[in-house]
Amino acid sequence: MTDAVVTSKQFFERARAGTLTAIRCGKCGELALPPKEFCAACQQRAWQPVTLAGDGTIASYTVIRVAPRHHTGEVPYAIAVVRLREGVSLIGRVVDVPLETLAIGLPVRFRPLITDDQTSVGFGPA
């Protein structure tokens, strides 16, 4: 039996609709993304879902130029770890930002990247 507050599947369903969802520990306040059973900070299990604003700044980034199979037609593409306003981070593709303007600290905003059968995390200009 699972009664997880937010499953990965639910995260991506909500992301597809434009909303980022994290979970906050009701005991110690730790914010987590992705969802997990126990709080890594206090080992309790008292999660509440939290809707995130979706804006943040780039904590680190790279431009992939040699890609794995199934992504070779997409190079070059940017991937960044983004520190969100609420303090939790998330990794995603950076789109619609010229590669040469990428920088640590650059403000970006979440947007879902949707293909027929898949939603992934993207970030565009703030």
């Binding site: 993304l33 992705p34 680190s60 790279t62 992939i64 040699v66 794995p68 898949q118």
Partner: protein, 384 residues
Amino acid sequence: MRRVAVVGVGVTKFGKHDRSSAELFAEAARDALADAELSPASVQALYYGNVVGGETEKQLHTGPQAASVLGIPTVPTTRFETACASSHAAFRHAVMEIAAGVSDVVLVGGGERVLNVPTAESTEYFAYASDATWEQPLGLTFPGVFALVARAHMAKYGTTEEQMAAVAVKNHRHGALNPKAQFQKEITLEQVLKSAYVADPLKLYDCCPFTDGGAAVVLASEEVARRRPRAVWVLGSAAASDTMLMHEKKDLARVPTTERAAAAAYRQAGIGPADVDVVELHDCFTIAEIVATEGLGLFEPGTGGIAAEKGWTSLGGKLPVNTSGGLKAKGHPIGATGAAQIAEITTQLRGEAGPRQVEGAHIGLAHTLGGNLATVLVSLFSRD
């Protein structure tokens, strides 16, 4: 707990081979047993590292397969998979088995074959060691993972692309002295800096190659080892893990798994970083060597790049790092890498490393990292 020693080592030539990973391991194991002056019948367990055999060779259950190809099919065997740290994880468990008195002689090693598939395909398989839900769908690669570390390190400490390039130049210089290395050719700083970006800021020459190869180590209890004057003693062997996801790391410029595994290994050994004479560490990318030297406490955080640039980690420097050529020049057959690093440290502490010998090396350290910085093994060794 009983003392444990390395009594035999074997490594294949690294590079492209037309043999299976099990055959490559078996060649290395044959040499390791000969080096140990032990018969295959003396092996009581095989702990085996193999990572992408299921993908590149359509082969699972690689432990018994490797044992069968070696000719010891009835020996209990288990495959370890901790991404690139697999055979070092296997090593740690073998050490514990002997220390606990369960076995007296355990064979450890690994084999990997990847050059039989195209680069885009092996790049995909290696990326399976990052998260399948959150990272792989983005097209994150392993150069990409370490590029995120490199950017963070550059921003926090001022590390430069030239300093990273100095690691590549140094490890190729060492690799040129190792007849088993995939690349036995020196390169220049300019060649590194002019090579094409793979995942900015990492360029082709910042990256280790794809490699086929095998490596093996024979471990024995004190009772067996004390009759062997070339035995090298295990002072400590520790593992650490951390969250898989790159975005859950608190500080991308540091590797806490390295820091925690090193602290535990030093504690077991009763020594500190200042006691270490020679190091083999996980330089899958040049930045990986820089953050490893810092995490192991060999240099202060933020100074790993300076250490490479000033030659402190070169043969002849104050603390030679990756005398084998490292993953960068020796090559990186991922399932075999940990065992190959331990083989190099053993060779150094025996004083048998020839032109790449570190004079008077007494204490050695091996460090192996797996996946998204999520697994690290650190072991310490002594000549007596």
